[in-house]
């Protein structure tokens, strides 16, 4: 079992690097895309969508994922291609005429549950799905991935109240806590901390995890909440632009693109 786990973790680390490299190629072809947040959430997406005890893509009782921070769609498309839900060749047409792979994900793409892009929407829809799943006696789990800047939206907290009031213990929120929103560090705009305490005080079972540790993510994601009736919030500490030294913690790379020299360096770092 430990060997199997080690193999799995090693495989998933390779997948994360491949996802980041793929997104660089996609962005170069398109001339646009949100790299920073796609890199910070890549390990979370890989750990979720390849988790051996979760199943997002097949059957009546499949688990559900909502990428509420839709601007990180770049990182989910290579995984959908690897899972053969879309063609791998389609990645090169990202954000281009005739493609269904846009800057924000929509339901034309197999594997995408709902259209997202405007922040503060995904959690309320996830709450509705979670309630419906419970009423239908389905055992599926639902995961909503939010940005930390997104937690500045008031609608997030309307939904947080709803989920705890209705004991939606089949719902997990993962906050990609990279500390940077579109233009600046969140502590310079509207301070969102202490996130763990906030989610706890809204009636959630909240904990901080390392959002770049595949080991921790694999161990944590499929767990049920400590208190059975509560929804669960995982505050995943991440680094915006993770994996490329000059992009890490740099607000410019929320939507900024690397230049030619930087591209060579980025590819080198991600391949090493």
């Amino acid at each position: 079992m430990p060997n199997l786990e080690n193999n799995l973790i090693s495989t998933l680390k390779t997948k994360s690097d491949w996802v980041r490299l793929s997104t660089i190629e996609m962005v170069l072809n398109a001339g646009s895309g949100h790299l920073g947040g796609s890199f910070s959430v890549a390990d979370i997406l890989v750990s979720l969508l390849y988790h051996p005890e979760l199943n997002f893509f097949e059957g009546h009782d499949k688990d559900r994922i909502i990428l509420s921070k839709g601007h990180s769609s770049l990182s989910i498309y290579p995984i959908l291609a690897d899972k053969q839900l879309i063609n791998i060749e389609d990645l090169s047409n990202y954000n281009q005429s005739g493609s269904i792979l846009g800057g924000h994900p929509d339901t034309r793409v197999p594997g995408i549950e709902i259209t997202t892009g405007s922040l503060g929407h995904g959690l309320s829809v996830a709450c509705g799905i979670a309630l419906a799943l419970k009423r239908s006696k389905k055992k599926s789990k639902i995961f909503a991935i939010l940005g930390d800047g997104e937690c500045q939206e008031g609608s997030v907290w309307e939904s947080a109240q709803f989920a705890s009031h209705h004991h939606l213990n089949n719902l997990t929120v993962i906050v990609d806590n990279n500390g940077i929103s579109a233009t600046d560090f969140t502590e310079n705009t509207i301070n969102i901390e202490p996130l763990e305490k906030k989610w706890n005080s809204f009636g959630w079972d909240s904990m901080v995890i390392n959002g770049h540790s595949i080991e921790d993510l694999i161990k944590t994601l499929n767990k049920t909440p400590k208190t059975n009736k509560k929804p669960r919030a995982l505050i995943a500490k991440t680094i915006k632009g993770k994996g490329v030294s000059f992009m890490e913690n740099n607000p410019h790379f929320h939507h900024g693109l690397p230049n030619e020299k930087e591209i060579i360096l980025a590819k080198k770092e991600l391949s090493s």
Binding site: D106, T107, E113, I114, T115, T116, G117, S118, G120, H121, L123, S124, V125, A126, C127, G128, I129, A130, L131, A132, L133, R135, S136, G154, S155, E158, S159, Q161, F162
Partner: protein, 311 residues
């Protein structure tokens, strides 16, 4: 035909009858009440969820439940269940094309003395720009009750706007729902097209015009989107003067919709549009007072039409 206390009663009594047999029929209310809710609470409490004063979340929750094949109605006073959560309606419901039914109470100046925060005179113009969304604006309780079974079965997002309190009954028979409008008086050289609570007033103005020798027809347009353009164009062939009367902003409502048809399809007709002006109304005293201020009362519209149609 069953009798209802008001349009709200018609909506929720009809939903209740269906919900008793189908546990997937759910009402979400943003802390807005209705008489029938007592029946839900006593007999099928799981199917009525008060989501609290949180309309944005309500729309998202409804979308998630609709995605899982529940038949969901959301309910609140019109400004709060439309403009307050407009982006959630646009994205969560309409972009995802999920069959959520939005029920808004208090069309036009229903909540007259509650001021512009509660007036619903902008919602038609704004909501009709949203792709995939149907807009229903019935004129009485009987026609309202006939829309509900359709909404439960429909696969489209829909917005049903209803008046508050008792309204005069227009229909004692079934309407042809899918035609989208009903000819109450056969179209003549002059035809009034109205919607919602103003249909009753339009019938009175129609009689006034007849008395001074201006024969005219009256159409109740209860489905504002999609408008049944083909049938309307056919119906209006012999009409020269078209009058629209609504308790909704002159910008973007029924009159605007009809004007778009006229520009696209006719070159020989005159259009006279009556609606609320591009203003917030702070005046107190009730709906009739506001109608007088806006010159939307029976006498003002009649005198204006008398002058214009005799020119």
């Amino acid at each position: 035909m069953k009798s209802y206390q008001d349009m709200r009663d018609a909506v929720f009594e009809e939903i209740f009858e269906i919900a008793k047999r189908d546990k997937n029929v759910i009402i979400l209310t943003a802390d807005q009440g209705a008489q029938t809710f007592e029946k839900f609470k006593n007999q099928i409490p799981e199917q009525l969820i008060n989501v609290g004063v949180a309309e944005q979340n309500m729309i998202g929750v409804a979308s998630g439940m609709a995605k899982e094949n529940f038949k969901v109605f959301v309910y609140a006073i019109i400004p709060f269940v439309t403009l307050r959560c407009l982006e959630q309606i646009k994205i969560d419901i309409c972009c995802n094309n999920l069959p959520v039914n939005i029920v808004g109470i208090g069309s036009g100046y229903s909540y007259a003395n509650d001021g512009p925060t509660h007036h619903a005179t902008n919602d038609i113009g704004i909501m009709r720009t949203l792709p995939n969304l149907e807009i229903w604006n019935p004129s009485d309780s009987n026609s309202t009750s006939q829309i509900i079974p359709y909404l439960v079965k429909s696969k489209s997002p829909a917005y049903l706007r209803i008046d508050r309190g008792k309204v005069p009954e227009i229909y004692s028979n079934n309407i042809n729902l899918m035609e989208g409008f009903h000819i109450l008086k056969e179209c003549k050289n002059t035809t009034i097209i109205s919607t919602g609570n103003m249909v009753d007033l339009s019938l009175k103005i129609s009689t006034d015009l007849e008395k001074i020798g201006i024969p005219n027809g009256v159409i109740d347009c209860y489905r504002i989107k999609p408008l049944n353009k083909e049938l309307l164009i056919k119906t209006l062939q012999k009409t020269k003067n078209i009058i629209t009367i609504e308790e909704n902003s002159i910008i973007g409502g029924l009159g605007s919709s009809i004007s778009e048809i006229l520009v696209d399809s006719f070159s020989n007709k005159k259009l006279f549009r009556y609606g609320t002006p591009d203003k917030f109304r702070w005046d107190l005293g009730g709906r009739e007072i506001l109608h007088k201020i806006d010159k939307l009362d029976q006498k003002s519209i009649f005198l204006d039409l008398k002058n214009k149609l005799n020119q």
